[in-house]
């Protein structure tokens, strides 16, 4: 790598998962955005941290495109020998038009805001059930792990129901994902890849069995709809694409929402003077949620790299043709050039749902955005009203992983004071 004046000798990708930066990322991120806004990590990745540049990378999907199949193989050289990586090829998020359009069209109507509103009651029921299980020990003065008991459970069950995964299978299916996802990077060891392949095979077998069940006995769920669509017209969705779709939805469908709920609770605790928004009815709760999504982006970076078709000059620097470019959401969302007093948590900011980058932007805008917004606006007010005098009872456990800012444990208790 050639030296140039002002080159910062750090690897931002490594730095942001160090403990002090997991606990409070923002001082370091501000420094990166000010001094190295188009950071070239020693790993080869370019990280964009200015809001305007982030939006440009995401919106201009013709200039900043997804990897082509041969690039995926270059990025994941073991992919042709490993089914677990091959499945990536066919997911919606990894495709360019026209395949992307065809695949996204199959599921888009199932995730619209209107459809998600219809689920609000059901989300409320599941929320109540999960909360009810931990209220007694809480009221008894015990420490309760809201992360494990509520945050990690609600999106799992809501999504499981939406997709059509039977309740008894969800936890096991979910536990398999981290091992598979751990292999989804170029540096994965052969051992990690073989483990991922094994687990992946069991996941695929599971979905294939479920597909057969739903073909014979269709339910009102997404898997049944996809099976019917494919049976009606096999050209619309190949078997590999169907497996990738289910796998991709399961892998990406709710870990971010889990993180958002955990950060929602932390934000309620750190900004008690703003919690009244959660008590102001659905519109107030929505304002809190939209500002929360800006303030604490659930994913620190884009999960899928973009590749510029030519050298591109962004406001913060140039990215060369073919570079692996990612957007650093946590930095972009705190850019003072876009947001006044960006480090102030303020749900009164107007139209935040149109402005933050946490759901991405453009072609691959988060399919589950309306679901996440609705779930958060249901669960956070319920947590507020069910756990009076809520306080942290220990340090949250921040997982040093990317891109999702996973919190494994969130210990809380009733404030004795």
């Amino acid at each position: 790598m050639p030296d140039s004046p002002g080159r910062v000798p750090v690897d931002v990708l490594t730095e942001i998962v160090r403990t002090e930066n997991l606990v409070d990322p923002y001082p370091f991120l501000a420094w990166v955005r000010n001094h190295d806004p188009v950071h070239h990590s020693p790993s080869g990745v370019y990280l964009v941290s200015r809001y305007a540049d982030g939006r440009e990378v995401l919106q201009n999907s013709k200039l900043f495109r997804n990897p082509e199949p041969d690039e995926i193989f270059r990025l994941f050289p073991a992919a042709h020998r490993h089914r677990s990586q091959l499945l990536l090829l066919h997911t919606i998020a990894l495709n360019n038009p026209p395949a992307h359009t065809r695949l996204r069209r199959l599921v888009s109507r199932d995730f619209t805001a209107g459809r998600m509103e219809a689920l609000r009651g059901r989300v409320g029921e599941i929320s109540d059930r999960l909360i009810a299980a931990v209220v007694p020990p809480y009221r008894d003065g015990q420490v309760v792990d809201l992360g494990a008991a509520v945050a990690s459970q609600l999106p799992l069950h809501v999504f499981g129901e939406l997709l059509g995964v039977p309740e008894s299978d969800r936890v096991e299916l979910q536990m398999k994902m981290p091992l598979v996802l751990a292999a989804m990077h170029p540096g994965a060891t052969e051992e990690q890849l073989l483990t991922a392949d094994e687990i992946n095979e069991s996941i695929e077998r599971y979905f294939a069995d479920l597909v057969v069940k739903r073909r014979h006995d269709p339910q009102d769920d997404l898997i049944s709809a996809l099976v019917t669509a494919r049976d009606d017209d096999p050209d619309i969705l190949s078997f590999d694409e169907l497996m990738s779709m289910l796998w991709g939805l399961w892998a990406g469908g709710f870990a971010t929402t889990v993180a958002a709920i955990n950060y929602g609770v932390l934000t309620m605790l750190r900004h008690a003077d703003q919690v009244h928004w959660l008590r102001a009815g659905p519109a107030g709760a929505q304002s809190f949620v939209d500002e929360l999504l800006r303030y604490e982006a659930p994913a620190a970076t884009t999960a899928v790299s973009r590749y510029p078709r030519r050298d591109v000059r962004l406001s913060g620097g140039t990215v060369p043709e073919g570079a692996d470019v990612r957007v650093l959401f946590t930095a972009c969302n705190r850019d003072p050039d876009m947001f006044d007093e960006p480090d102030r948590f303020d749900p009164s900011r107007p139209a935040m749902h149109r402005t933050h980058l946490s759901f991405g932007h453009g072609l691959h805008y988060c399919l589950g955005a309306a679901l996440a917004r609705m779930e958060l606006s249901v669960i956070l007010p319920k947590i507020d009203s069910s756990f009076p005098d809520l306080t942290l009872a220990g340090e949250p456990t921040y997982r040093p992983a990317l891109p999702v800012r996973t919190i494994d444990h969130l210990p809380v208790a009733m404030d004795a004071a």
């Binding site: 359009t101 069209r105 149109r354 402005t355």
Partner: protein, 103 residues
């Protein structure tokens, strides 16, 4: 006969995702409020525009099929004489939402 679409974006629904811009390049733009609007309100029927309407996460895009672009009342005869609108002749059809996939 060439068919046309009138494109409308409901600003009470739009979340500025820009999926429409990316799916139908050139047909949509974001204003300074991050709200989407068509670059031209009446366009020849386009598969991409149909896809954009289908992919909108807020179902904010309405497409109305017109048989004559002048039915929109927004186009003047280039020779300077304004054609009167003919609402009785071709009523706008149901909102066109592109090919539907059987479920």
């Amino acid at each position: 006969m060439k068919r046309y679409l009138r494109i409308q974006v409901d600003h009470s629904r739009c979340v500025g995702s820009a999926l429409c811009l990316a799916t139908a390049p050139g047909y949509f733009e974001l204003d300074d409020q991050h709200l989407s609007r068509p670059t031209t309100s009446v366009v020849p029927v386009s598969e991409n525009v149909g896809a954009a309407a289908e992919l909108c996460p807020m179902e904010a895009i309405t497409l109305t099929e017109l048989e004559d672009e002048r039915d929109s009342g927004e186009h003047e005869d280039t020779r300077g004489t304004r054609r009167p609108p003919t609402p009785a002749a071709v009523p706008p059809r149901q909102a066109f939402t592109g090919p539907t996939y059987r479920r």
